[in-house]
Amino acid sequence: MATVRTAIDDKVESAIKAPRVETLALICIQDVVVEYGQPGKAPKRILNGVNLDIHPGEFISIVGQTGCGKSTLLRLVLAEEMPAQGQVLVEGSPRTQPDRRCGYVPQKYSLFPDRTVLENITFGLEVTEIGLFGGFSPARRVRRQAFQSDAIGYLRRMGLRESDAAKYPHQLSGGMQQRVAIAQALIMRPKILLMDEAFSALDPGTRAGMQRLIKDLWRETGTTILFVTHNPREAVILATRVIALGRTGGEDAGADIVLNLSVSNANNEPETAALVRRVEQSTFPAGTDLDEASAPEL
């Protein structure tokens, strides 16, 4: 079928081809292969030689079909998983286990159910500044009060009330829980924030609010964000760069990056729509019903 090229398509094309300003990569993913195997069975390849550099301050969306390795890629950066081949470097060094350089907001179980909202937010500060057995000295009590006032500040910034501080996670809505989870991660001032389908369980209205919030926070803090979503529109609206994963070599070949698209220069709705179309074409094969993947407007 013949396609009509528009000026927007040209702009998208130039955005893809535009040379990026090279700075020292914060995250360096080099020839990474991930395989899952069961005893007695041939291992299943999930990621096949993925290469990706992520620079400080970038907002990266990772999209792709279900099971294509989006969350696996995130877990590699988190060091929750190790590659079968290749390596993942953060600030130039390989990672061995998750640490506080990376904040993490998963889709589920993002908060500790046995702690109140305030205790959840201050947990990281308490554990790093006060330690396991040092919670009773007067000096530590003063520090703890400082943590709490810091946490209240974050709570307000997330649009939550001070009265929510004493609530337990199960007393909050899904959107409120994710706001607390973001506050819990950001109070530790991580260099990288990893969000694994963090908004996918939220209703469209709440989701749009959360998208606005995370974009504002990214602008304020300059934290590098890796945001996994299955929603092309959400990916384009939020990110400066969209990484699409897909299997080009068949089901058993494992996924690789099929699109590495800078989206930061989309200034209006037609440009955004064109970029979304581009992401959809790369991510989903022709004939896929994309209704479910449509995101709410920001």
């Binding site: 988190l78 506080r100 589920k108 179980y109 046995d114 396991l132 337990y168 199960h170 991580p190």
Partner: protein
């Protein structure tokens, strides 16, 4: 409306009547049969009357055991003093002491299960052994325990530990493994180390469930404790029941059995209340 409907909603009064019906029927049946037996044979010892049991229980709570020496000023002692020197008090204290020591020894079992679930090397080292031990019928070890540890307190406490600890270890292990991976990863990203994650995240989350598990194993704890006391002991509730069996002392045995049931009910209620107070998030979540 049929009573066998899933959506049936009995009134509060109906629920109250239904829930007490079997108790009332059981008590009424006992005394009806007991009365019949006593009409046939006034010296019947198998089913004592309420008056006989009240008298025996009163003696048990106010008089020392037959094998104890009676103090010279026994008649002038206060009620509290009489109770504290009574057979029931002495037996309850002896059983209670063993019970508390055994419960205390179950705490390391929780910690072992926790570490087995968190640290793969510890898990690999202990899991197979604990699984094997869990399958051994503890009562079959009783002779070995008596030979190895003598017939003193240690053998009885060890019987409880051997009988219940593997279950608690495996329960704590499974509960630890069921904590979502996200929570553990989250702990690391917030700066926690291995032991902070283990104690401040995982142990805190599984603790109310572990308490529940221990509560549900109370009956097993008492079973092993009673077995030990009945076979080799000089005091304790089970020792007294076994001793009175030889004399067909049903007027004391039945109140003793009800006393044990009441104590277990109170311990169960206490643990449930404590769990609810200590972990308000747990019941509601």
């Amino acid at each position: 409306m049929s009573i066998l409907q899933i959506h049936a909603q009995p009134s509060r009064t109906t629920v109250w009547i239904l829930s007490w019906f079997l108790f009332a029927t059981g008590v009424a049946s006992y005394f009806w049969v007991s009365r019949g037996r006593h009409l046939d044979n006034p010296d019947d010892r198998v089913m004592p009357t309420l008056r006989q049991m009240s008298q025996a229980f009163s003696d048990a709570t106010l008089k020392p055991a037959e094998d104890d020496e009676v103090a010279a000023d026994a008649g002038q002692q206060s009620l509290l003093m009489k109770i504290r020197k009574s057979m029931l008090w002495k037996d309850t204290m002896a059983t209670g002491r063993r019970f508390l020591i055994s419960m205390g020894l179950l705490f390391p079992a929780v910690l072992l299960g926790l570490h087995m679930g968190m640290f793969p090397y510890v898990g690999s080292f202990f899991l197979r052994f604990v699984l094997f031990f869990d399958k051994i019928v503890a009562l079959s070890l009783l002779p070995i325990l008596f030979i190895a540890f003598g017939i003193d307190e240690l053998a009885k406490v060890m019987l409880i530990v051997v009988g219940v600890a593997p279950t608690i270890v495996l329960d704590a292990f499974n509960l630890t493994r069921s904590v979502p991976k996200e929570q553990i990863v989250k702990g690391f990203t917030l700066g926690a180390g291995d032991f902070s994650v283990t104690y401040r995240i995982v142990l805190k989350q599984i603790w109310p469930r572990v308490l529940n598990s221990i509560r549900l194993n109370l009956k097993a704890v008492m079973l092993f404790l009673f077995a030990g006391e009945m076979i080799a002991s000089q005091d304790g509730l089970a020792y007294r029941i076994a001793l009175l069996r030889r004399h067909m002392g049903m007027d004391t045995i039945i109140p003793y059995v009800l006393w044990v049931a009441l104590l277990l009910f109170l311990v169960d209620f206490g643990m449930r209340t404590l769990n609810r107070k200590l972990h308000p998030w747990f019941q509601e979540a």
